[in-house]
């Protein structure tokens, strides 16, 4: 009997924070499983959609930047491959931040009725988007086959970069989640930010076209390092520099720490605010 003693006092929950997350890990699995399951419930359309979205966006971007604007590719990499390699991490980032931003509101009936560490919710939203990302990666492989493009040995670093983009998305996502609960109109700002971000990141073009005088200012965007890193991994060639990757890594870790902190400070009031 005594082994399950729980003491509730003001401010108590924060002292057992990490232990609690571990104790509720099963709920985390179940919620992620639910989100994935619901997403692909109408099997054909569900999975097709995760492939179709990057595919169609790739075609548009390749036409606009590669054909109309005649921007150069890197080496002899086909332009659609260049675009898709940038689009994969970008769409993962955009989807997961949007999903986690809304996740608490979508799950508000749970939050107002059951206790669990709230961070599980944006975490599982990020995982769900990650599954989409993995599916889109298969599209990348098919496209490489189509162009008879052989990836270099750099591809072994793919998990490292996937991990980096995961951390970046999750950190940014938790901040947005907490902001979204507090200020309900924040979700109208988010799509706008993501739209701008698409052009400020080297998704439809390569960083090589960025003029030298603004190069480092441009590289302050953490997505620059990540996207060029992905190209380096998948396509073997890219203008990525160690400095850019350093910026991406430190911003990702910084956002993660700030995000979790901010989330912890506000999560106590979630049930009262929602």
């Amino acid at each position: 009997m005594g082994k399950h003693q729980i003491v509730i006092t003001p401010g108590r929950s924060s002292s057992n924070y990490w232990k609690d997350i571990y104790r509720y890990r099963e709920l985390f699995y179940v919620l992620s499983w639910r989100d994935i399951k619901v997403r692909y419930k109408q099997t054909a359309i569900g999975i097709l959609w995760s492939v179709l979205r990057p595919f169609l966006t790739m075609i548009i971007l390749a036409i606009v930047f590669g054909y109309f604007a005649k921007l150069p590719s890197v080496g002899d990499i086909p332009y659609p491959l260049l675009v898709l390699a940038g689009l994969l991490p970008w769409q993962f980032f955009a989807n997961s931040t949007a999903e986690s931003g809304n996740s608490l509101l979508v799950n508000q009936n749970l939050i107002t009725k059951v206790y669990f560490p709230r961070i599980i919710i944006p975490m599982s939203a990020t995982v769900t988007s990650f599954v989409d990302f993995l599916i889109a990666l298969v599209l990348m492989l098919f496209l490489m086959l189509f162009y008879k493009f052989v990836p270099s040995w750099h591809i072994i670093f793919l998990p490292v970069l996937a991990f980096l983009i995961f951390i970046l998305s999750f950190g940014f996502g938790t901040i947005l989640t907490a902001l979204n609960v507090k200020y309900r109109d924040f979700r109208y700002i988010l799509p706008f930010l993501i739209q701008i971000g698409l052009y400020l990141s080297p998704v439809g073009y390569s960083t090589e076209v960025v003029p030298d005088n603004v190069f480092w200012l441009y590289s302050l965007n953490p997505m620059v390092g990540v996207i060029e890193g992905f190209r380096w991994c998948l396509l073997g060639e890219s203008s990525v520099q160690a400095g850019q990757l350093f910026i991406s890594t430190s911003v990702s870790l910084g956002l993660l720490v700030i995000g979790i902190r901010y989330f912890r400070n506000t999560e106590k009031y979630f049930a009262d605010l929602i």
């Binding site: 009997m1 005594g2 399950h4 003693q5 729980i6 003491v7 509730i8 006092t9 003001p10 401010g11 108590r12 929950s13 099963e26 709920l27 179940v30 919620l31 639910r34 399951k37 619901v38 419930k41 009936n109 749970l110 939050i111 107002t112 009725k113 059951v114 206790y115 669990f116 507090k182 200020y183 309900r184 109109d185 924040f186 700002i189 106590k268 049930a271 009262d272 605010l273 929602i274």
Partner: protein
Amino acid sequence: MSELAIKVENLSKSYQIKGTEKQGYTALRDVLTEHTQTFFSKVSRGQNPLSNSIKQKTFWALDDISFGVEQGEILGIIGRNGAGKSTLLKLLSRITEPDKGKITLNGRIASLLEVGTGFHPELTGRENIFLSGAILGMKRGEIKKHFDEIVEFAGVEKFLEVPVKRYSSGMYVRLGFAVAAHLETEILLVDEVLAVGDIEFQQKCIGKMGDVVKSGKTVLIVSHNMGTIKKLCKSCMVLEKGNLLFYGDTELGINEYKRNYSLAAVQASWENDDLKNDKVFLKEIHVKDKNGTVTNLFLNSQEIYIHFIVEASEDVRNFTLAFDIMKNNEILLRSRQVDFVEADILMKGEVTELICKIPSWFFNAGDFYITPFLSIHCVESLFDSSDPLVKFTVKLDPSRSKYHDVLNEQNHPGLIFPTFNWKVEKI
């Protein structure tokens, strides 16, 4: 002596209510404009623009409450809307944190706050059992162990692979309760779930609750239904405005509660001292005549209009308002708005008036009592006073027949006095 399952010491919880704001949430836009406005108005008045002066009112939902619940005890919690019942359950289940005080729980705790919590409409019955179980805090192994029992209890064997969005509301509720009823936690919090489903299933639920007690679980039940509380609980606590009014024997507690809910002649109204606990709040009941005059005395030749005013604090579908008219402690009739009009949707913040017209020449003479019930059809009881709240008196109209003037309840028995067609013919 058994160990205390729940020990609550000096527990307090407050909410801040902003003077003007009515919305439950803030918009960044409003915060920015508000701050700029106050900044400039302070500058123009020569005050320090950075000092904080937004007036906030503190509302103590629970104020310095202490009690202990013994292991295996079933405790009823009763009180008016806004008395702090739901806040207490929220604190016990850790959904929100207390401001002061301490709670010690010996054992795992789970709450059955609303059936079907966490159900996803797209998932099948089988998948939802695992989902809902996990949300309520069950381990996968536990759910597997009880899976067959849960399915059998809910009676949904044939529909296990069907998405729950295709379930009838009755099936949905049964499945929700079935999962929760098989929780293996030592402490269970129950909020108004017993008033769900059809009569047969309600009996099953009450039976199940009885089994739960025998298994040594500690159970806290919040209900507006005094019948349920009487049946299940040996002891109860009465909360009023965040204070513990009474703790002890159920009968005495219910009497204490009823004393606060005294019978009103003519009309009844309550101040909404509740923050947001109740989905739908019955604000007022009036009994009026054809001209809209509030009265409690009618001739049986007059029409009677019963007005109910309700306010919703969130969007509600399948809203049902019913009332019983009682005479001599027996139900003469029951009427529900949904039997006649399909106006069953309430929007958040809306105040709605429901009017029932009772035709003339219906009641016999006597005193009649109105007992209202609010519910979400087959899902949840929102308000159940279990006792009449309003009384009115009917006298016979002597003008119809000269024989009426000496008639009264005693020499003219029967509950109703309809006008039948009498023909008198000489043969």
